[in-house]
């Protein structure tokens, strides 16, 4: 069910109504879990079974860990390892099975045929990472002998785990939640009068604006990046298209995340921010602290730090960066282009670290705008691997960039206008932010009254929406 569909609007109204019924106050979590399962099963009911089984298994394992004595370190460790292996195995089977088949020797065994025909459950990358977060957070709390943040009764633990993983605003495309940050919010009664209507409205309107006006309209132009349509374009046109795609992917995903945050706040839950003006980053490290924050935070806390982070020498740090970014790339999709994209960023981060050590005051000497532009260009070239899944087409695009050298826009003026007009709001958003200090992405600091700004955004959504398309991150 897409957030930008009428079906979803009906679903939301009914769920909100049931959720806030006074005599059902004690069943609010039940209502949300049931609604979330319905939301997930709406398009493909068969995949709900896998989600429920996955939740059940992780709830059981995390409950077992939370119930073991602090002295039983081996037991705690065993259950945690089982949980991680279960989730990684599940992801490997459903998401990476077809890729693994390509690596196997040719021949049609029963296993390869089965792997090739497995469906890709929507949101599996997101909910698997959340389940791993549940297992590791419970494990860490238990090992340190701290009070568990999960309920002590098994049925309540199962119910809360189900809400943590399946809560519909974030289920299919994040933000990826961390168990120890979300669980404390569950179970507290939520009241209609406490809804932060204004914040929810702002987040949802800005989210829909980014998705329907910016991303959906830019999508119409960036289809020209498909092979072989771009072959005849000049260098400048190809650069404009690439910049347009950078804006599109930001608007699409940030839009989704904002809608998710707004929807969650209607039910009294606070989801973490997923984007913080990423194209204002002056270094690649900063970019990853601003882009898909929940994923980069997850990779940092559950992978980079356990691997030793930057505390085990220079070479090990570079290796850790490569490994974490390669896994981050592979998380996006079962294709080599995503691994290369991850390694590309890993290489960039390693180089940046090396350069910082070699010339400690380099970043101070360079003007900030030059650093921001360099990061934007580096990141934009990386998006080519997202846009063109065939690596050969990426090479063709780069070859055209180098050989079709021309600054002309002959026959492509419309394209220029469209990319300019629909990218402008995102650049303005970033520009406002760079001028104003503090604030979240949807709280643009300005003296213009909020009703005027958001009224304009609603008007733009009404008369300038693009042809509705699925969210780019749904495929992950």
């Amino acid at each position: 069910m897409l957030f930008n569909s009428f079906d979803f609007l009906c679903f939301l109204i009914v769920t909100l109504g049931l959720y806030y019924l006074p005599f059902w106050r004690f069943y609010q979590v039940h209502v949300l879990v049931a609604a979330s399962f319905f939301f997930y099963a709406f398009e493909c009911p068969a995949l709900l079974g896998l989600l429920v089984a996955c939740i059940g298994m992780n709830a059981w394992l995390s409950f077992k860990i939370s119930k073991l004595g602090v002295q039983d370190r081996a037991g705690i460790f065993r259950f945690a390892v089982c949980g991680i292996l279960f989730n990684v195995g599940l992801l490997a089977t459903f998401k990476y099975g077809p890729l693994a088949v390509q690596l196997l020797p040719q021949g049609k065994s029963g296993l390869t045929v089965w792997l090739q025909h497995l469906p890709l459950p929507i949101g599996i990358s997101f909910y698997t990472f959340e389940n791993i977060s549940l297992i590791i957070d419970v494990f860490r709390h238990r090992r340190r002998g701290e009070m568990s943040f999960t309920p002590t009764a098994a049925p309540t633990h199962l119910l809360h785990s189900a809400l943590f993983v399946a809560f519909f605003p974030h289920l299919v495309s994040g933000p990826i939640l961390k168990a120890d940050a979300f669980f404390p919010q569950i179970g507290l009664p939520k009241l209609w009068r406490n809804i932060a209507w204004s914040d929810a409205f702002k987040a949802i309107v800005l989210g829909f604006f980014l998705k329907t006006v910016v991303a959906d309209n830019l999508k119409e132009v960036t289809t020209l990046m498909n092979y072989p349509q771009f072959i005849g374009f000049s260098t400048l046109t190809l650069i404009v298209l690439l910049a347009g795609y950078s804006v599109q992917i930001f608007a699409d995903f940030a839009g989704y995340s904002l809608i998710a945050i707004g929807l969650a706040s209607l039910f009294g839950y606070k989801l973490p921010d997923n984007f913080n003006y990423p194209y204002l980053s002056s270094s690649l490290g900063e970019f990853w602290r601003r882009w898909h924050i929940s994923l980069s935070g997850w990779l940092r806390d559950y992978l980079y730090f356990p691997l030793g982070g930057n505390r085990r020498g220079r070479l090990r740090t570079y290796f850790n960066l490569f490994l974490v970014m390669a896994i981050g790339g592979l998380w996006h999709g079962a294709a080599w282009s995503f691994v290369i994209w991850g390694l590309y960023h890993g290489l960039g981060l390693a180089f940046e670290r090396w350069a910082e050590e070699r010339w400690p005051d380099l970043s101070l000497r360079l003007p900030r705008w030059a650093c921001v532009a360099t990061v934007f260009i580096f990141v934009s070239f990386g998006w080519l691997l997202f846009r063109l899944p065939d690596f050969g087409h990426v090479i063709a695009y780069l070859r055209c960039l180098a050989t079709n050298y021309s600054l002309g826009f002959v026959g492509q003026k419309k394209l220029l206008i469209l990319v300019f007009v629909f990218s402008l709001p995102v650049f303005l958003l970033h520009a406002f932010k760079s001028m104003a200090a503090g604030g979240r992405i949807h709280c643009v600091a300005s003296t213009v009254p909020a009703w005027l700004k958001y009224g304009l955004l609603v008007f733009a959504i009404l008369v300038s929406y693009g042809l509705p398309g699925a969210f780019i991150y749904f495929q992950f």
Partner: protein, 287 residues
Amino acid sequence: MIIRSLLFSCGLALVYAMAVGYFAVGIPRVGPTQHQSNIIRIERVWHRATSADALLVGTSLSARLPDLVINQQIDSIAQSATGPMTGLLLADILPTPPRSVYVEVNMFHQGVDHEALAYFSRQPMAALREFVPILRQSEQPINLLISALVAQHAEPAIIFDPNKLRFGLDYLASQNQQTLSVEVLETSLVDFKKVLTSLRNKGIHIVLVEFPLHPEVRNSPRYIQSFDALSAVFPASEWEWVHPPAASKWEFTDGLHLTTASAVDFAQLLLTDIQTRRTSARRRVNN
């Protein structure tokens, strides 16, 4: 704040609707991109009160037929970058069904544009667009601005360029050496026939149109396979066909698409065919 924002946006929408009605009535609507052009072309037919006499459905091959020639006797919802199935499925749910449908069959197996189908069929937005024109793609500010800019300049004619043709033929040769999988071909044909039969059962006259292709493309394994399959499923004894005259010298931009001059010629040929069929149908009725 919320109420004030909503009221303000409604006020703006009202002002915008009046401004469009006053300033932009005479501007011929075009889309800024290929996909939006497709949608706007369909909107033109979709929101018309009268039913079309004949409707042309197809891919970019048909979409390139010049509007000025073709629009006199036939409405076109031909769409670039998508198969004729999209147009047929839309013709099936058109508010005012056409009397006859001319279907370009060259690329019948090409995919369906589900976004276009959803745009015209998903309620309640589809119904709202019927009554609130500013919600249509053709009335959006940027699209209107581009339409106004385009209206000032006549679209340049697409002329014959041997280098472009060679590039196109080489690219198509690499694509068309491999035949379609039997499974894909059979599924496409079954779906195609199902929709055509459904339209026919509603009393709509169906004419299958074969567009000219460059001989290198027409004789490639993929096209031989697909045209053989088409002829078997839609025999000339049961279905009406329009074939391009073999003797004509068509000029192509890339092996598939006709140059503007050839497109005008083919459009004329199609119009003559429509005229002939209309006359003979009238005669049959009179007799």
